[in-house]
Symmetry: D2
Subunit: 244 residues, 4 copies
């Protein structure tokens, strides 16, 4: 391996290692990250580690602290609500611009194919819903939507959804056993359909507000987890970082 490739791999390993550690709740929210301890634990040198921490600061998972170094960020309920809001706003912007500027038929075809596959997972009775397939296809569908945006917009979406609880998959795979939640996926899929329809009809305002409303499902799930069934907290990535 060349030295450069080696360095790139080290960077990648550092980034993923620290991110996983933070998201999994392995380090308490608010506590300082020791570079020495992290370097040892993850088996990486300090230069890629520092780059990883700088990147995670940008993602909003760690905060630079005045004395130098970084601490795991702690989030309030309001922080999470605003991160979800921001995701909705940015996805909404991507969809609005796509509707206004027009999308090539081939790409619309891809969206329709994903819609049809999502429909397949919801055929039959609610108990028979193919949950795992829905989760995967939902992620693929959202990524396809993001790909309609210019790099300037999709960059921001990528950054915002790197906060795990702001991603469209955040609450999805944790509640397969709650019937009311399963049923809510009919509405979610209806919103997917409406978004594609709005882009096709060049209805930018409608596409934008659909994306925002769709993101509100995540907020609804957040509030359910925090207020009704806190046992789910440890099942949702990074939710252990939320205090109060």
């Amino acid at each position: 391996m060349t030295e450069k490739a080696e360095r790139a791999m080290q960077s990648q390993r550092a980034l993923m290692g620290v991110r996983d550690l933070v998201i999994s709740g392995g380090i308490r929210a608010g506590s300082r990250l020791s570079e020495v301890a992290l370097a040892e634990k993850l088996g990486i040198s300090r230069t890629p580690l520092r780059a990883a921490l700088a990147r995670l600061e940008q993602e909003g998972l760690v905060d630079a602290i005045p004395s130098g170094g970084y601490a795991v960020r702690s989030f309030t309920r309001e922080d999470v609500i605003d991160a979800i809001e921001l995701r909705g706003v940015l996805e909404g912007t991507a969809l609005r611009l796509a509707a206004e500027r027009g999308v090539a038929p081939a790409r619309m075809g891809e969206l329709h194919r994903l819609l049809a596959e999502l429909d397949q997972t919801q055929k039959g009775e609610v108990e028979e819903m193919n949950f795992d397939a829905y989760v995967d296809l939902n992620a693929a569908f959202h990524e396809k939507l993001w790909s309609l945006a210019s790099q300037t917009i999709s960059r921001e979406i990528e950054r915002v959804t790197s906060l795990p609880f702001a991603s469209p998959s955040a609450f999805l795979d944790k509640q397969a056993d709650v019937m009311a939640f399963r049923r809510s996926l009919y509405g979610a899929q209806a919103q997917h359909r409406a978004m594609v329809n709005a882009i096709e009809l060049r209805e930018g305002a409608r596409a934008e507000s659909l994306a925002r409303e769709h993101a509100r499902l995540a907020r609804q799930n957040l509030e359910f987890v925090l207020d009704q069934d806190r046992s789910l907290i440890r099942r949702v990535s990074a939710l252990s970082l939320v205090v109060g």
Copy 2:
């Protein structure tokens, strides 16, 4: 000075040094940044330099390149248009949420004071407009608006406006001598007034679209510079990075 303080200062110097160099057009868009040359030129060591480059990648001024290292980003006209759009969307979100959630009277008072001071700069004939005061007060007014937002939103605004041509001040101080441009500031100030009025009346939708429309003034100025008077390009920060 403690070692930590020394390190923090080095980081800051590295960040500002590289950013200025890139923005001023001192390095050609698209060309690779040599760490060795930069470290020497700015008199800083490689660790703070790398952190600075990682940060500038987040801001969107440099791109990581596959072979390792970074290159100065080059922007298309569309990139700049979308960066301005994004600024409008994010400022709009800040204002909408402020209108919906309510703002304390003391903070509204501060906004009204700035509005009154901005009005003062526009008294009398158009030739007598106090341009320099307008530029400063305009920047202060926008920062006050951003401060209404939660950290989650204001972080994003800060990042997006770190692209110089996306900032609300971008085109402002370059065209004092163009009469049509001066006259357009009456409309800009009317929009400032309307934004504050909308927040006060809890009109979130209106506040949001006013902020977006306000950002379109920057796009209008961009198009004027690129299409009508390219001699102004070198006067606007970072516009030298725009190709085509």
Copy 3:
């Protein structure tokens, strides 16, 4: 009975008589309405009949014709789509203004009570849904929403929904036997909940776009009836007036 009361009753009878006749498809779209024949058929005199026709012109069910008199209006598919759009826009305005201006807790309580009753109709399996109760409660819920608006706005809503296919009840009671349609009511009720939630959180933009999207369900049903199952046309009031 006093003469005045007698006259008021005559007016009312004339209005309802002619409207029913037109809506039921009893007179072919486009054909001229003979005052003599109508007066005889409905057993009313010409003065209240003319007032009724003037009113129906305002509602958009009949057109004044150049030679004097009125003809039953014929609607294109686009006319119906725009009438539904208009209903969504006006309901959206009512909700946005309610969210921005605030609603007294007692009235919010009434909305919550209706939401809870609507929920009751959807308990259990989809086959067990209490369809008739849903239809009545849905109408009551929409009327309660309209009552939040000032007279200026609610007047317009009343006029627009007097075109039968633009009313929120238009397609509702005709498709109890179509399973996909029943299932779509989960999404409709989720929208009802979201509208009330948005008003409560003072989210005017969200409330407005929810009302618009909610009206799109009617358009979706319209397109289903016209394109997939034309046998339903005669079941939906006034849809016989739609040509092409």
Copy 4:
């Protein structure tokens, strides 16, 4: 003249006669309209008079009263504010749909021609503005915008703007001598330009909110007249019907 033509002319004369009488403040707000007195004063028979009153009820200028007959409507400040809001909402809908559905180049050309003519009235110093030409061209421009809408939407705009204070010309021709008002027309014309630009770029959301914001100028003028300079009340059509 045929009997029919005679009847049509009578209807027209009745409608315009009563409307002028009401708008000019010739009958006090709230007072009952005597059919006998009106028929005599305007020299028309009772049948066309009743049709005219029914039409004016639809326009919102008179109210049917429980005892039979009609009374001149009195408006509160809130009524006028909502009528202006409604005009903005409906014009906004017309523009949004035009942007989404696309407009033929020939019609865009007509809008551009009117924009250019409006620009001509604003050349030179503010004192030299050609006010009368601006007023006429402004009315023509708005009518051209309305003509982009389908009949379903333009009907509503027509009805709403038949309330004189809700029309885009309402406050325009009364304040030629107020310098601040003249200057505000630069902003109004910038909004005209932006609306056309938004339609061209297929930006429906932007076009809609521009139309709404444009209507707010009327509200601003209303508040100026009612709160700052009540001497202007009698100069604005129908404003004498506003109480409180």
